[in-house]
């Protein structure tokens, strides 16, 4: 599943690691690229006096740190800069960041590596090489100063952007020696600091990009504008897989501001106008005839029925197996059985998908927000039909991503429209309604769990049958393994570094019957860990109650071989006061999970009155290996609870007549201030691995609350969202 960048004269393959990854794309090179530089304006103005590729220093001591992973609010930009600044011994107050474009990366033979921010990978997959970049730059600066002073470099030290020759007391600053340092060779494989000596990394520093966000100056993709730009509103066939039959442009072409009505591709039509509001107004009035295709009869109910059949169908897709689960179940003193299901979810990024494109016969430029600049670049190349050296993609800030912005359909569409109006910059913006109804969705699955208990209430066997949709079959078919989707089993794996099943159950079978409805699935914050954690952690709770045992004690008995899983579980139990009674009328739930390399657990305290659930308090623990910025991790933890609990209570996408029903935040709700539980974070890095941060705690948000709701009501909720079960947040 690791990506293998391949490069030859003609083709350049961008791949990304599996979950939340994205695309493996062949980018055809223009022949010219080998000899000539790419035209200047397809690139970013990068600071000169480069010390390797990650750091450049200006004469005024400004430290420019290159960050290529996308920043969408998760804080990786600040965290990666901290890691580099740490090794660089930089003065943090002088640090800024800059962004080499994907075209810059191609020009430098992909020196900056992977641009993708998804699967909580931005730091965990690049910490090594970016830290080495910072360390190498520091060594170059020290050597340049030593050369100037004609002393051995070993007699000099660097700290806070200043170099000191200890014996003579001479000092100089990074800015003064940067030009000379930039001419020195870049040291390979420099030694790195021990994290226990960190002064910048590991500290709860503030984000680098806040000032512009509180005055309205941060430039999101939707804010981009340029002279002569027109705006486009788009409409896709409401049924996935359908097509445009015809549309009557004459009906709207006289409307104010309207410039052109275009067919974008076989499934969508756009109106281009002076302003987006005019375009949207005209689009609403445009008569379009659709060929809705063969999926018009599909509904949530028909999908559910199909998935239900998968709960007992034959399958060979096995994710985890030990002993003989069937035998253990048939010989059980007590058998426990339950069926769960998890619905489609929308990313509902607060900034709807959009991109600006300018196409001329010999060049195509795009300005957009993407979680993966290289994927956006590949999409622009493919849609424009131009060679890579004639295409540029510029980065703008993302108004959230959550996985949605790893898909570059909006870049493709913007370019396809711009191609029909060469020389005119076109900003394509999806309305909220289009964004919601023609997106890609958290996949739908069901799960049947059958557990075997012996007479003492020990778990002797477990069969977990997942039925439903594969993300990879749609998003990355080349990553399927013998027809099976390995990421279906996120958090349930027998081993590995990503997501290990944390219970020792002697007879175990976890398998998958794949059924792929026509609704396109995609990576959605937490991906398959979301429902896998709900299924498993709710059911473990069910078995504990069936065995008449405390859910924490019951779990612990099966976790001796999983000390890190157990570590976070114990931490939340202790903080929430599991061994003491909860306040009057308040009930607790607890759970744990592992995913994207990190160990997470949560405990929830709720009270339920009628159909109203009050979430009083959440305690969440994470062991992400290294905690590069605890303040930002704390924010990711709280934020992941908002996102996960929004989906649990208010979310869920229903399908009717082959199309998505929920069009906006009135029917696809999002938690607001009054509903937000107090989230207490425990950040407990064990410093012996590197795990992710942006997603993992979302896995335990829903199961902790569901287990607490059971404790409060005696009712086990197994289908979601809870609004459909008449359960609301108080």
């Amino acid at each position: 599943m690791n990506f293998v960048p391949k490069m030859n004269r003609r083709a350049f393959v961008i791949g990304t690691a599996a979950a939340g990854g994205g695309l493996a794309l062949g980018i055809p090179f223009g022949g010219a690229l080998a000899q000539s530089a790419v035209a200047g304006d397809l690139h970013e103005q990068l600071t000169s006096n480069e010390l390797g590729i990650w750091v450049a220093i200006k004469p005024d001591d400004t430290v420019c740190i290159r960050v290529v992973r996308a920043e969408m609010g998760q804080g990786s930009q600040t965290g990666l800069a901290q890691l580099i600044a740490e090794e660089l011994e930089a003065d943090w107050s002088k640090v800024t960041t800059e962004y080499p474009t994907p075209a810059d990366n191609v020009k430098r033979k992909r020196a900056w590596g992977n641009y993708n921010s998804s699967g909580s990978r931005a730091i965990r997959e690049s910490h090594q090489y970016v830290r080495e970049g910072g360390a190498a730059a520091r060594m170059m600066l020290i050597l340049a100063a030593a050369n100037e002073w004609k002393v051995p470099a070993s007699e000099c030290t660097a700290s806070n952007s200043t170099i000191t020759h200890t014996a003579s007391g001479k000092t100089t600053t990074y800015g003064k020696v940067a030009e000379a340092a930039a001419k020195l060779p870049v040291p390979e494989k420099p030694a790195l600091k021990n994290p226990k000596d960190w002064k910048i990394a590991g500290k709860p520093l503030k984000r680098l990009d806040t000032a512009d966000k509180v005055v309205g100056k941060m430039m999101y993709s939707i804010d981009y504008t340029m002279p002569g730009m027109l705006s486009a509103a788009i409409k896709d066939c409401p049924v996935f897989g359908g097509k445009v039959t015809s549309f009557d442009a004459a009906k709207v072409s006289g409307m104010k501001g309207v410039k052109k009505v275009v067919q974008v591709d076989d499934k969508s039509v756009a109106v281009v106008a002076d302003t987006w509001w005019q375009a949207k107004t005209a689009l609403k009035a445009l008569p379009i005839v659709w060929d809705k295709g063969s999926n018009e009869k599909v509904s949530s109910a028909s999908i559910a029925k199909w998935l239900e059949e998968g709960l007992t169908a034959e399958t060979k897709f096995v994710g985890n197996k030990a002993g003989d689960a069937a035998a253990a179940i048939s010989g059980a003193a007590k058998k426990v059985e339950a069926i769960y299901s998890y619905p489609y979810q929308n990313h509902a990024c607060l900034e709807p998908m959009n991109a600006t494109a300018l196409y001329t016969a010999d060049k195509c430029e795009v300005w957009t927000s993407s979680q993966n600049g290289e994927a956006a670049y590949a999409a622009a190349i493919a849609a424009s039909g131009l060679p890579a050296d004639k295409v540029g993609v510029h980065r703008l800030m993302l108004g959230t991503g959550f996985g949605r912005r790893t898909r570059s359909d909006y870049v493709t569409e913007a370019v396809l429209i711009a191609k029909q109006m060469p020389g005119t910059p076109i900003k394509l913006l999806k309305s909220r309604e289009e964004d919601m109804t023609n997106g890609v969705y958290h996949p739908v699955t069901q799960c049947k769990l059958t557990g075997a208990l012996d007479k003492d209430g020990n778990v002797t066997g477990l069969h977990m049958r997942i039925s439903g949709q594969s993300i990879l079959a749609y998003a990355r078919p080349e990553a399927m393994q013998a027809g099976a989707d390995p990421i279906t089993f996120q958090g349930l794996n027998p081993g590995g570094a990503e997501g290990v099943f944390g219970y020792d159950i002697p007879n175990l079978l976890i398998d998958h019957s794949m059924r792929n409805p026509h609704i396109p699935p995609w990576f959605w914050r937490g991906v398959n860990n979301n429902q896998n954690a709900i299924y498993l952690e709710s059911f473990i709770d069910e078995m504990a109650h069936a065995a008449g045992q405390d859910p924490l004690v019951f779990r612990r008995k099966m976790m001796a071989k999983f000390p890190k899983h157990l570590g976070v579980l114990n931490a939340v139990a202790e903080r929430v006061g599991w061994d003491k009674p909860a306040p009057q009328g308040v009930f607790r739930g607890i759970c744990q999970h592992m995913g994207y390399g990190s160990y997470v657990a949560a405990a929830a305290e709720v009270s339920v009155s009628g159909n109203k659930v009050k979430m009083h308090r959440i305690v969440a623990a994470t062991n992400p290996g290294h905690a590069v910025n605890p303040a930002q991790i704390e924010r990711q933890i709280a934020g992941s609870f908002v996102y996960g609990l929004s989906a649990l209570f208010h979310g869920g996408i229903t399908i009717k007549d082959g199309a998505v029903v929920e069009t906006n935040f009135d029917t696809f709700g999002s938690i607001r201030m009054s509903e937000m539980p107090k989230v207490e974070s425990i950040i407990m890095p064990s410093n012996d691995f590197w795990g992710g941060v942006g997603e993992p705690t979302i896995f335990v948000a829903a199961p902790a609350v569901l287990n607490a709701i059971f404790a409060a009501t005696g009712k086990r909720y197994r289908t979601f969202p809870l609004k459909d079960q008449n359960l609301q947040i108080a």
Binding site: G75, M218, C349, L350, L429, R432, R635, G639, V642
Partner: protein, 149 residues
């Protein structure tokens, strides 16, 4: 032609009177700090002050704003000095992606105008904007800090 007074400056713009104030501000005036999130008065990303009242501009026709004093996020700082709410937002490192924050700040400014020392219950009641990143704990802390500034 519609006359709009935004952040103390008059603008005369040629728009359909039914155009939502949000789009007039963003596209005709060119102030993009005010955001589009839903277009149906659900999310609050488009919040501006119309005669001092926090208003979801996506659902407010530009014609109704013709004689009003409108303040957007860009007009909150006075003479280059940030509003105490903006300062508190920086101090508490509130924004994640930041996309909702113009609206959150405009809502918080109005809340503090009406309730200089809001309780948690006041904040729960008045701060109804969506934040998909989930910055509510920081928003709450920053509002209390601004109230005490």
């Amino acid at each position: 032609m519609v006359r709009l007074n935004i952040n103390g400056k008059d603008h005369h713009i040629d728009v359909d009177p039914n155009t939502p104030l949000l789009w007039a501000i963003r596209e005709n005036i060119g102030l993009t700090g005010t955001k589009y999130g839903c277009g149906i008065a659900q999310c609050g990303a488009c919040t501006v002050h119309v005669d001092g009242v926090a208003t979801r501009s996506c659902s407010y026709p530009v014609s109704a704003a013709a004689n009003a004093k409108i303040v957007t996020i860009e007009g909150l700082a006075q003479n280059g000095i940030l509003h105490k709410v903006q300062k508190a937002w920086i101090e508490h490192d509130v924004p994640q992606c930041g996309y909702c924050q113009s609206g959150q700040i405009m809502a918080a400014v109005e809340l503090l105008k009406n309730k200089p020392k809001p309780t948690d219950a006041d904040i729960d009641r008045e701060m109804t904007n969506i934040c998909r990143c989930g910055t509510f704990q920081q928003i709450r802390a920053a509002i209390h800090a601004a109230a005490n500034a």
